[in-house]
Subunit: 536 residues, 3 copies
């Protein structure tokens, strides 16, 4: 695992570069990420570019034997763009357009934003695409991080245009969404509302089929933006260095289809801020499994009191190729001002600067190889369906990713296990135990893989809501094959739940299937995982 760090020439006085880079090199750090918020520096006015400082910074890095990752700056549109084209700024769910002053203030549906983004990235890619110091390009920063969805008129039009080919006319949409409920039948696609917050005193929700499509639309809209940017970079990328983006572990639930996004890129990038060992381990397994190859931590927090031990564990996981600390120097100003960095604000070394320096020079401990024999299904549609759930009775207070990390994976971690995350059914081929947590949306391909697993005698641990809904976020009125195989007629959302959250403990041929209530706790997941895991 190679160490890197964010270090921002655009924020540091040029007179300090040499000293900074010597300190970086001296800590055994060999790569730098920068540039991802520097739009107004690179393009101070429309169409006038100033990137000589980048050339000088790359040259300085090269002199110190340090590699570079350039971040494209499209997450922070400059003041002049917002002034000239206010429609580039997103609208919230009460219909209010944001003011200038934060970041991620961009509507992905805005042609003006898209065009300006292509412009600045094309300049960078054309000029630095062949630079030998540059080992990768990071598209944007934490796409979708601060704003999951924009509710502007441009998005309304784009949403309806995106919906139309997915249905066999408006009558098909009405039927599949059940719009006869509450009299919501549409005559035309342009009547489908953008699901802004209703202004009623009880917080009523929109139709759940509409809502799931709304989340999918925004995921696709952001993926489309990311891939468009990647294409611009690749056109100028003479040295064919990898293109990636950095995704974040959003507490509030993920909002982009990870496989869709990273399948169009070369490397999975990920940002993590935690000091909890099970969380670190979980994301190592999960982000590795998105493309089934090692990924890069693009931001890793430096304030943990046990940083060296965390680096040991991450390196030993084999899941991570590069790890960039965030950040080398503190930001004295701005919204992220803080003293959390490898150097102090007055220029000294922190304890963790010294810890990294020692760590990078010593030999890594070899970790015991842990076979990943538990397959955990991760399904975006199910996650989003759960996020949207209100009156359906399935508890929606916990987001799917949070529960997956803190209940299911933490239980595995406590038992000394790792997980093979299945973002597609094929990943279940050679595991001993399959876990289907809150996988409410029925995917026939996944169901076939689970049935094949059972026929091989593999165990299954699932929640009571598995496959209850179809891809329209509507309850299935015919029983999925899994339930027929189990000899069950399905479960109700108010099913009586027994000891350790048990709803049913079944034999299906040679296989054992345990069904848990959707509210199963960490302790209950631990109990059943222990029961179902053969001694290693």
């Amino acid at each position: 695992m190679q160490l890197g760090t964010t270090w921002y020439p655009e924020y540091r006085d040029e007179s300090t570069w040499e000293l900074d880079l010597a300190q970086i090199r001296d800590a055994g750090i060999g790569a730098i990420r920068f540039g991802e918020f520097a739009w107004s520096r690179i393009e101070p006015e429309p169409g006038r570019f100033d990137s000589d400082w980048i050339a000088r910074a790359l040259a300085a890095m090269r002199r110190h034997g340090i590699e570079a990752v350039i971040g494209t700056p499209t997450a922070t549109p400059p003041r002049w763009l917002c002034e000239r084209s206010p429609e580039t700024m997103p609208v919230d769910d009460s219909g209010r357009r944001t003011v200038f002053g934060a970041r991620q203030h961009r509507c992905y549906s805005s042609p003006a934003y898209r065009e300006a983004s292509r412009g600045v990235v094309e300049h960078l890619a054309q000029r630095f695409g062949g630079d030998p110091t540059v080992v990768a390009w990071q598209i944007d920063n934490e796409i979708g991080g601060e704003a999951k969805a924009c509710y502007c008129d441009l998005c309304a039009v784009a949403f309806r245009r995106w919906l139309e080919p997915r249905y066999d006319g408006i009558a098909d949409l009405n039927k599949r969404w059940g719009t006869q409920f509450w009299s919501q039948t549409y005559q035309r696609f342009d009547q489908v509302p953008v699901p802004s917050r209703t202004a009623l005193q009880l917080g009523l929700k929109h139709n759940p089929s509409l809502m799931l499509e709304w989340l999918r639309f925004h995921s696709e809209n952001m993926v489309g933006f990311c891939h468009e940017q990647a294409a611009v970079v690749r056109r100028g990328n003479a040295s064919r260095t990898p293109v990636l983006t950095n995704y974040d572990a959003f507490d509030w639930g993920e909002n982009i289809d990870l496989r869709r996004m990273f399948t169009g890129l070369d490397v999975v990038g990920f940002d993590l801020y935690t000091d909890k060992d099970h969380v670190i381990a979980c994301y190592c397994d999960l982000m590795h499994d998105v493309l089934a190859r090692p990924f890069w931590f693009m931001e890793y927090d430096v304030s943990s009191a046990k940083l060296a031990a965390e680096l040991d564990a991450i390196a030993a996981s084999g899941a991570v190729e590069r790890l960039f600390f965030f950040k080398f120097n503190p930001f004295p100003w701005g919204q992220e001002q803080s003293t959390r960095a490898l150097r102090t604000v007055t220029g000294g070394a922190t304890a963790n600067y010294d810890a990294v320096r020692v760590w990078s020079k010593r030999s890594r401990p070899t970790a015991p190889a842990v076979r990943r024999r538990v397959g955990v299904v991760y399904d975006h549609d199910s996650s989003w369906s759960r996020f949207l759930t209100g009156w359906s009775g399935i508890p929606g207070d916990l987001t799917y990713p949070r529960a997956l990390v803190n209940d299911v994976y933490r239980a595995l971690h406590a038992l000394g296990e790792r997980a093979r995350f299945a973002l597609e059914p094929a990943a279940l081929r050679d595991v001993e135990l399959v876990v289907l947590p809150w996988t409410v949306v029925h995917e026939p391909g996944l169901e076939q893989a689970v049935l094949a697993h059972l026929r091989r005698g593999g165990s299954l641990l699932m929640t009571q809501d598995v496959f209850l809904k179809n891809r329209d976020n509507v309850f299935n009125e015919t029983l999925p094959a899994l339930y027929r195989e189990m000899g069950c007629a399905g479960f109700l959302d108010h099913e009586p739940v027994g000891e350790h959250a048990l709803v049913r403990d079944l034999r299906v041929g040679k296989a054992r299937v345990v069904v848990l209530g959707t509210g199963a706790t960490f302790e209950q997941w631990t109990h059943w995982l222990r029961m179902l895991l053969p001694a290693a």
Copy 2:
């Protein structure tokens, strides 16, 4: 007590009707409520009606010996109405008009909404008013459930028009409301503001007299809508079947004067979702006492683990004539999608389907007759005043209905008692103990009834805030007769409160009067009710 259920022909494929109805009949259920959200089905475009499916559904019910209640669909205006007349949609307290996508999205002051509502209901009433299958009409659905108040310009005009005849000119309003306070004197009625949320950083409130009138106006506006609809139904109602509406137990405080609304109808309808025995018992007594005759549960939840015992208790109360389960089949789609129903989503019987089937066939246990010797005053003005209370020092965090149910009535229930709810003074004529909880608004008629009760030697349990205010929501500057009779000069809102929340324990002639702090708990109510109730 006759059993019914909601079952929606508009949501079920016509091919399933026969099987559904046979299952309903087989469970001993003899009545169906439907239609209350089917506006877009009945009137797919303005003025074009399609109700042949209702005729077919009624015929099918009749074949199975099942009676019908038609719900009028005015709580879900269709897309075309909102598109054509956006002013039919309500505005929230920050001035934002709701988007389409939920239900109850209607402003009761909108002429276009009123006209369209009359149109669709007239069609139904004219066509099915004489149908022998129809045993009742339900007006709308849970009126005022999602939106207590609309703040639009139409409501502003209607509110001022409603205010004007209640005052002897603007000077009288200024005097009664005390608008000299904070310099709020008005010169004209059209200056009285709609009490939208103030946009200050501390959440300051509007004048409490204005606010109470605002709540009364909306109650009257909704009652007026309901009665107008009832008149339309009655004009077409050849068979003179009863007209009702279904009120809901709103946790957030009731928002319609129950006697005002139901006095213009034939039957009290009520919806309840709970499995708490004291809540069920409380609403049985309360809703019975609105018109002093048995009422109908129009929606009763089917997911309780002890449904049969609940049905026994309700039947034994003698307060309920009909009970409709909600719901027979689950909704697979839409905002209320859920598996909570008597049948499963894949068509099977739930445990409670079987429980109902058994219950409807066996003889009802006879419950011990419990004489209702405790009169509990229920006063809307006091409830609303309490809801509005902020700086007055009387705790406003608990709504009046919630406290009444969970503190006062629960205490009675724990002691094996029932209540006679007095929504008007006459109901106190023959009780042994009168409870006046948070009855802050002084009603001279009620005071006379309480004094007469004391002179008969009856006991009184009251909170310290009783009768402190007049109907303008203003503190009385002269002492109410009750206090003179008690020899007290009234109580302060920061009165010292003793053991068991006691403020005063008095003799008034032969009668005992106990005054409690307004924050008395369930345990404290239980203590004093036990003290004051003679052994049965």
Copy 3:
């Protein structure tokens, strides 16, 4: 200490005045404050004044030997002003202009508001400036109480105009604020946004330098309004009676620079609502120290169960010259309707009326003189910086004033000590122990005073964040002299914190310096204050 009370002739029927005033006099109360919300009474329509009632009220007070403080009524603009000039009403941080109906509904930047305010106050000052009954004038009421900031277009222009002379051009602003961060570089001052709430799903903040200037601007805007009003009063104030205003103990953090405001006035006025002894004692010391002379309690709550003991303690503090109770008669109507007053709503005496009557007649106990040997620094910039802190890592959940009162001062109070509050460095000249709590903004003058104190051998108790930032709310990149003297390189925001919150316990020459974590609790402050205080 002389007793006063608020008593409102504008709210009382003139027939009750004589009785009211006799009751006031009989309780030993010799002064009255009134008029501060009576604008619509004084100026019922634009330019037409009615103040004869004030003349009659003053005459009545004089007859009873009672002195008067006139409050100017500018905190409650009348309906006609808001109707004629809607731009006088403030806009909140989501861009919504407030509706009429509360108080403090005024934008201090509005010329129309300023002009109307001058008009009504000039009338009062000209007519009653020489009245011998009037012993002081109170400007407005709790300025900034309900609305810290207005976000309207007038404020936007005024803010930018105020900013411009504070910077050496926009480039200087960009540099000092670090606007290169997140690409926020401005080309012109008119691009600096009013920091409205961003409409993103994560609540991102604005640049912290911008935010601190925004708070300073509003403080200055309100101070400017106050001083303008004071000038109007003084022009008519023939008898040269003192001019003051009443500040409030805002739980949410103070929003006006107290020394800036009161330096332009004659007396410090303060309102307090609490029955906590340490809070009373704290504000006695603090408000005394604003101008280093006794202040006036303009509002003091009357509902405490130990009012006489509180009066004893306040009188013994020597910090208070006059104390006005709030309020003599209850308000039966309006937003502050309540029974909390010295008289009941039906006209009787409360227990505290009798307590005041007794107290005013008996001799005051002499309190032991407590030397104020602990200097506590109070710094607005630091308080505001802390209030704005988010991602900087310094906990921002507690406001500075709340922590100062309930952690630091409460600890002093528990040890029998009082504080000398240093709102300017000179106040530290002769104390034995200096406390620097969360004094994050580096003021060189203050630093010099602290260093001089250390050189005298005085002890220092400080939090780890002291002087870390400059006046731009930006972390200092060079080490402040205090740290060099301490031989420390500064502290990180994630510094390990030891027992009793200890970060460092140092000797600096003869002086002892203890550095605590920013989250130190009351118990921990108590521990260290006890350690550092020499036996008295």
